[in-house]
């Protein structure tokens, strides 16, 4: 499945006030999640330079899902220096959403050893301001010791762990015929990171019929006698510590952790070079099954109704409209929140007599959008008094009952006053006659698009469980140890 990747170049403001900041045109960030068209802007930040505000706009809203802001090293000569940056979350207008002292994100200096630091940027229209941490803007600056450069850009949202060399999601079959999946990440050397915490969140249960439990394993490669400590928290001071032997074999970190209700946190501290794997037990499934989708017309409005027979991890719906059944545009300005199974949306931005086509898109919590293939159409008309799909004899009866009436009379029916002149008379009857026999709504194509859903299913598999680095602290640089080969978890 081809995936669309939207990229955005970060705006650099306050340029006049920050003369030392040079913006090179290297624009060569590494596609951290296979975003083929990943582009970026190179920033050079030196000691004493003011922070660079980086705002995110535009494409996020059109992307239809979340994006990641990634900082990766540049490989061009005019961006030679790779070092530490300080990322300060400004989403709430403060510098200290997280602890800015711990918000150092280190990039490495070679092509193969990069450290893409993901800042999850959710589309507020899809997720709401409260459902996720929205990092709509960040600031970057140097660590006040040297001048650094990095390419900064946006890539498509792929909630994966901090991928180091060779890291990727893997799968193994479970006993029920479904899938377990795990991500295996390896902190190789060199690294100045020796304390890293991870949040495991169940961000897309809808793509799996699972028990909501993850399974954890780990493997350490540190030389003998030097331990790695695992904390079941994101705070190494408060968390209970487990010493992990460095024996280069896989160990069970935990057998079951329920991630249905809340994320869980882990922190590895001590030294680098270890693998962690988290498996999720579940069977892939389609998040939303649409059981009906229809449109009915009224006077200067069209009502779209749909029902679902299944919803899992559904962030909501979008409605797309077209007048030629080719070019569709989204109608709703904010995502239509899920309310489980029965929905009604009224489109008032329509003109009587024009035929409108509608399609429905569902968006999962992981940001995956699925356009359903059913196309409902409707022609707004003042003559559709009973809301049926045809102007017929029943509409005539309704109008006839109100014939001769004015407001305040017992048989007054404002719907029957088709021309809105305050009286139901022959003129209204003539309007009804113009439309009589017209079909005003229907379904253009009710065939399920199984191929689309199948592709979506594959996409959702990749987003089922996310492991997110939530803090990396630059404490001390441990000795360099060769990166071990990737290990497969076998169950």
């Amino acid at each position: 499945m081809k995936r669309l990747y939207y990229l955005i170049i970060i705006a650099l403001t306050f340029l006049i006030a920050m003369p030392k900041i040079a913006i090179a045109s290297c624009g060569d960030g590494i596609p951290v999640d296979n975003c083929n068209n990943w582009t970026s802007t190179c920033y050079n930040v030196g000691p004493g330079d003011p922070i660079i505000p980086v705002s995110i706009s535009g494409p996020i809203n059109t992307l239809g899902k979340g994006v990641c802001l990634s900082i990766v090293p540049s490989q061009q000569n005019n961006c030679p220096n790779i070092g530490s940056f300080v990322l300060i979350d400004m989403s709430n207008g403060t510098y200290d959403i997280d602890n800015p002292a711990t918000n150092y994100y280190t990039v490495f200096g070679s092509l193969t050893q990069y450290f893409p630091n993901f800042i999850k940027v959710y589309n507020p229209a899809l997720y709401g301001a409260s459902s996720q941490t929205t990092r709509g803007s960040i600031y970057i600056t140097s660590d006040n010791s040297t001048t650094y450069s990095a390419a900064v850009g946006l890539s498509c949202y792929e909630p994966v762990a901090p991928t180091n060399t060779g890291t990727s999601w893997s799968y193994w079959n479970n006993s029920s015929g479904g899938y377990n999946r795990y991500i295996d990440f390896n902190y190789g050397s060199p690294s100045s990171i020796d304390k890293t915490s991870f949040m495991i969140e169940n961000c897309s249960t809808g793509s799996y019929v699972g028990d909501g439990y993850v399974y954890g394993v780990w493997q350490s490669f540190q030389s003998s006698g030097v331990g790695i400590y695992m904390y079941e928290t994101n705070d190494y001071i408060q968390g209970a510590q487990t010493t992990l032997p460095a024996d280069c074999t896989w160990h069970t970190l935990f057998t079951q952790k329920n991630i249905n209700s809340a994320p869980i946190f882990f922190m590895a501290a001590g030294y680098n070079n270890f693998h962690m794997g988290f498996g999720y037990n579940g069977i892939p499934m389609i998040p939303v099954i649409l059981s009906s989708f229809s449109a009915t017309s009224g006077n200067n409005h069209i009502t779209i109704q749909w029902q679902t027979s299944q919803e899992n991890s559904n962030a909501g719906f979008n409605i797309y409209r077209s007048t030629d059944n080719v070019h569709y545009a989204k109608v709703n300005t904010t995502i239509i929140a899920p309310n489980q199974h029965n929905y009604t949306y009224t489109d008032t931005n329509v003109v009587n007599g024009t035929k409108y086509y509608y399609k429905l898109e569902d968006v999962s919590l992981s940001g995956a959008a699925t356009m359903h293939n059913t196309i409902a159409w409707a022609i707004p008309s003042p003559a559709n008094l009973d809301g049926s799909g045809v102007v017929d004899g029943n509409d005539l009866i309704i109008l006839s009952q109100a014939m001769g009436s004015k407001p305040g009379m017992s048989n007054w029916n404002p719907k029957a006053d088709l021309n809105g002149d305050g009286v139901v008379d022959e003129k209204d009857l003539q309007i009804l006659q113009q439309y009589f026999g017209d079909q005003l709504s229907g379904v253009a194509d009710s065939n399920a698009n199984t191929s689309l859903q199948s592709a979506q299913y594959e996409n959702n598999m990749l987003n089922s469980v996310s492991l997110l680095p939530i803090a990396n602290t630059n404490i001390s640089a441990p000795p360099t140890v060769a990166i071990p080969q990737q290990h497969q978890i076998n169950h």
């Binding site: 045809v390 102007v391 017929d392 004899g393 029943n394 509409d395 005539l396 009866i397 109008l399 006839s400 009952q401 014939m403 001769g404 009436s405 017992s410 048989n411 009857l429 009804l432 006659q433 009589f436 026999g437 017209d438 079909q439 229907g442």
Partner: protein
């Protein structure tokens, strides 16, 4: 006198029972009226080489309006026009009649016939509409009532006793 009083009491109780029943029925919130003795049926006749299909009702009560949809085989019949039957014109009441081929549907005629304003319905038997077809060929085919809505003077749907939905117009 005592016997007379007992008789009167009994009579009043029985009458009260029936008044109660009538009142209970009259205050029903059901939006449909039952007219179990009524029948809807189609009939045909020839008219100068054309075929006239009539939509008829029998034993109807308080009929205010009718909405009828007919389907036919467009390879056999061609719709020409339709005229109101005389049923709803009782007492020279104002009526409205509309007929048209359904747009986008091949072989469907939509009919509407109604009294207008605040009027009582019509009771009895008669014709709702006469639909004129020219005959394209003499192959056997059906003209069918695909939907019919009969409403009384209160706007309630009349549940008819039976509907004979089709008639064979072939040889």
């Amino acid at each position: 006198m005592g016997k007379l009083n007992t008789k009167w009491v009994a009579t009043i109780m029985v009458a009260g029972f029936w008044v109660f029943l009538a009142t209970a029925c009259g205050t029903s919130t059901n939006k449909s009226a039952s007219n179990t003795n009524s029948t809807v049926l189609l009939s045909t006749q020839q008219n100068n080489g054309n075929l006239v299909v009539s939509v008829n009702v029998k034993n109807i009560s308080d009929l205010y309006g009718a909405a009828v949809t007919l389907s036919y085989d467009p390879t056999v019949l061609k719709y020409q026009n339709a005229e109101a039957g005389g049923l709803l014109n009782a007492n020279n009441a104002q009526t409205n009649f509309l007929a048209a081929e359904e747009a986008g549907a091949n072989g469907v005629v939509v009919l509407g016939y109604s009294r207008q304003g605040i009027e009582n319905g019509v009771s009895g038997s008669g014709t709702i509409a006469n639909v004129n077809f020219s005959v394209l060929n003499k192959a056997g085919s059906l003209v069918t009532i695909t939907s019919i809505v009969l409403k009384d003077s209160k706007g309630n749907i009349i549940n008819t006793g039976s509907v004979n939905p089709s008639i064979n117009v072939g040889n």
